[in-house]
């Protein structure tokens, strides 16, 4: 495992993308792209084929659940971790059923994100 795993970050807030980018890059991963809505995430996934994806849920144009479904259709091995402010149980279940590997509720600490990424990439 000498090559760093690549990550695509999806969130509609610039601040959140910046925060995640900092945490992820400091912990041995490479951020290869950012998306600010579900549609962009799907397109960038197809273009960049990252090892891992972080996905917000509540976003304009296309929400996270729909994006997860689209990405999974394209690549059933996609490794997607949800990072969302919304922690309601039915929503977590919906995301996991759609194909997400893990679900983190904001605000989360850096440790938790890194753990989740490591777990998903093994």
């Amino acid at each position: 495992m000498s090559l760093a795993k690549t990550v695509l970050i999806t969130d509609d807030t610039a601040f959140m993308r910046m925060t995640l980018r900092n945490v992820i890059q400091k912990n041995g991963f490479t951020v290869v792209g950012e998306a600010s809505d579900g549609e962009e995430a799907v397109n960038k996934y197809k273009e960049l084929r990252p090892d891992l994806v972080t996905m917000d849920i509540t976003m304009p144009k296309m929400d996270g659940i729909s994006a997860i479904k689209e990405i999974m259709k394209f690549d059933s091995n996609a490794r997607i971790i949800v990072c969302s402010a919304m922690g309601q149980k039915p929503m977590v279940i919906e995301a996991l059923n759609a194909g997400a590997r893990d679900f983190l509720v904001k605000p989360f600490d850096a440790q938790r994100v890194v753990e989740a990424l490591h777990k998903a990439s093994s």
């Binding site: 807030t13 610039a14 601040f15 959140m16 509540t58 402010a85 919304m86 929503m91």
Partner: protein
Amino acid sequence: MREKLDFLTELGNIGASYATTALSKMLHDAKLKLTVPQSRILSFSEAANYIPDPEEVVVCVYMRMVDIFDANIAFILPMNSALALAGFLTSEKSEHLTDLGQSALLEVGNIMLSSYLTALSMISGAKLKPAVPAIAVDMNGAIWESILADAGITDFVTVLETHFSTEQIELSGHLFFIPDHDLYEFLSSKVSGFLLEEST
């Protein structure tokens, strides 16, 4: 009526607790003070007069949910609190709200409002799906009026308001939750159910 409002106050209390817990985590576990929420049913004129200083410049993060129930939820900070919070999160020192600072506040608002809704959902069983949050920096009165107009409120309106503050940084703000009539009835029907059980 009083019992219905008391129940709403309790819901508002729990919602606000979740919201401020989330904020506390973002402020490195700062201690946040919450006032007991005020639940009020306002007439249109009372709603029009609700904001004590309508010309005060504030930052507002707002979500309007349209689903089985309609509800509006907002987080409002006076400008100096907004700058203190944005500065803390971004580590930028600025006298004006930068784009990054605004983005940070949008995210904080998003997290707090979503936490509030998660709490309400869990307790009441109401399905409350959050929407994409919106941000405005403007006069308090204009923002308040826009929220009411957007919600199509023309007559009575139920408002749950909580004030929060911390000494860790100079921060003081308000959370508002405005359920539509159907949601209000649904939430307060929980009280009727409780009362019925008591009497048998």
